[in-house]
Amino acid sequence: MKQYMFLFRGGDAHAPGQSPEVQQAHMQLWMQWMGGLAQSGKLIGAQPLAQTGKILTGTKKVVTDGPFMEGKEMVGGYLMCKADTYDEAVEVAKGCPILVFEDGKVEVREMQEIKM
């Protein structure tokens, strides 16, 4: 079984102006989706990420502040899970609640084994 990382972009359910009820209902969707993954033992971990950030670049380790791009292009969170194939991982990703938003994106990446 391989490991995959999902990177979430866009689809901010906590945008200003959203009522607590709407936010709560949305978190319920995350609960159902991740709960299913946890039940099948495929969930490894997941966290949302803050809208702030720092970027370090190159040998000089130049530090620049975020935000670095438009909000919807930023990685807003990640999830790691187990799956046998990309197809299966993509099927899992289809359930992600971020996709209830038109601008929501899930990037599915397989974790690479580095062979020496």
């Binding site: 709560q24 978190m27 319920q28 995350w30 609960m31 991740m34 709960g35 946890a38 039940q39 033992g41 969930l43 971990g45 997941a46 966290q47 949302p48 969170g77 999830l79």
Partner: protein, 428 residues
């Protein structure tokens, strides 16, 4: 102000007993039973905070919900601080969702729903009754963590020291930590033995309320209610509705039916012959009989069956004089054969007196090898006092005084002093 204070104390006393166990059960799921101490600390913090704030502002409209909310928030703080700490094992499929901010709040919210909390309490009771924990440690742990008993109260129930109880608790918690015991219903083949340990504890809780050795408020109805509520949970659960569970429930109904007549206006015990039987709760007696009928499935007879039968004999007698003592003696002899204990033997002595007279009691004592154990119990001296009161007043006085020394129950002490006073008037 004093009345206000009293009201708060009364509310918190009752509520804290009821809720602390439930909260510990939920928190044990949150932190894992290996961190039972963390769960207990959160509950303790929550209760202290409640005391402080309620004293100033008065109790909230829904005190239980208030406690749950505060405990929940404290738990969330701890989880956030320790998200990646090795102390907490989040690898568990149920608990991994508590590690992620996407799901933590929702999971926490769901964990504190009333119907979940009630089942958690049962599951936790089973966890406390793990077969590798000695029975006395099981009971100690349940009383401490799930029933809000203080170490001192447990020590008194067990006729032992607080130090011993503390040591037991420490050892049991170590065991939980090492083995990571999960709160769950036991597998079918272990269910009976584990349910029995749970049942014993429930009955101890009940007795704590019924005989109440440690406070002026003689009958702690909340304890009776809690014990009966827990037993009722076992009765309503498909897996745990065993004959002995029904029998224990019947027994508790028969006892509880009589509590209103058992206490006088000043919290003193009113003994069976003087109880106003019209105060007995006929509904509870009927309920008890119905449970006893259900307990009659299968061929096994537990001590609860016999004790319930004895209690029923008392409930069935319209007047004290109508009591079928001969049958009760048969039942006590049977009980002593399958579940011998000092208290059963001493009660049996009393019944021998009723059936065969005082001489027979003294003969029975003479032939017994159990006297050293009996002598540690106030009831033994009280029985002797009763017997000698008509023949040898000075001997009776010594016996009663010994009994007063040995009981910690304020109401028992009162009762004994009354008997001593009566001896005095008889001598004059």
């Amino acid at each position: 102000m004093d009345t206000f204070q009293n009201n708060i104390d009364k509310l918190t006393d009752h509520l804290f007993r009821q809720q602390s166990g439930k909260m510990v059960a939920v928190l044990a799921k949150v932190f894992g039973t290996e961190n039972l101490q963390v769960a207990e600390d959160v509950v303790q913090d929550t209760l202290l905070q409640a005391m402080e704030i309620w004293k100033l502002k008065g109790a909230p409209d829904n005190p239980s919900a208030w406690l749950y909310r505060v405990a929940k928030n404290k738990a969330i703080d701890i989880l956030r601080r320790n998200k990646f700490s090795v102390q907490y094992d989040f690898s568990d499929n149920d608990r991994i969702l508590l590690q992620s901010e996407y799901t933590m709040s929702t999971v926490m919210e769901n964990l504190w729903k009333e119907e979940m909390v009630q089942d958690d309490l049962l599951r936790m009771m089973f966890a406390c009754c793990h077969p590798d924990i000695s029975e006395e440690n099981q009971i100690t742990l349940i009383l401490k963590t799930l029933c809000g008993f203080s170490t001192a109260e447990i020590a008194r129930s067990f006729l032992t020291t607080e130090d011993t109880i503390s040591k037991r608790l420490y050892r049991t918690k170590e065991f939980f930590r090492e083995r990571k015991i999960r709160p769950e219903f036991p597998p079918t083949d272990h269910l009976k033995s584990r349910a029995n340990a749970v049942l014993r504890t429930i009955y101890l809780i009940f007795n704590e309320g019924y005989n109440s050795t440690h406070t002026d408020v003689m009958i702690r109805k909340d304890l009776l209610e809690q014990a009966m509520y827990l037993c009722d949970q076992l009765c309503s659960n498909v897996h745990t509705r065993l004959p002995e569970v029904y029998a224990a429930m019947a027994l508790m109904c028969f006892h509880a039916a009589r509590i209103d007549s058992r206490m006088g206006g000043e919290g003193e015990i009113i003994l069976l012959p003087k109880q106003d039987r019209s105060k007995w709760n006929t509904q509870l007696i009927c309920d008890g009989s119905a449970y006893l009928d259900k307990a009659a499935i299968g061929s096994e007879v537990s001590s609860y069956h016999i004790e319930a039968a004895i209690a029923f004999e008392h409930c069935a007698a319209p007047r004290f004089g109508d009591t079928n003592w001969a049958h009760i003696l048969v039942l006590y002899t049977w009980l002593d054969a399958i579940a011998p204990s000092t208290i059963v033997q001493l009660n049996r002595l009393t019944v021998i007196g009723k059936v065969h007279g005082n001489e027979a009691v003294l003969q029975e004592i003479e032939q017994s090898a159990r006297i050293p154990e009996w002598e540690k119990h106030f009831l033994y001296h009280s029985i002797l006092g009763e017997i000698y009161s008509s023949t040898d007043k000075e001997k009776a006085l010594l016996c009663y005084e010994k009994a007063v020394q040995l009981t910690q129950s304020i109401s028992e002490k009162k009762l004994l002093r009354k008997k001593i006073a009566m001896l005095g008037t008889m001598t004059k």
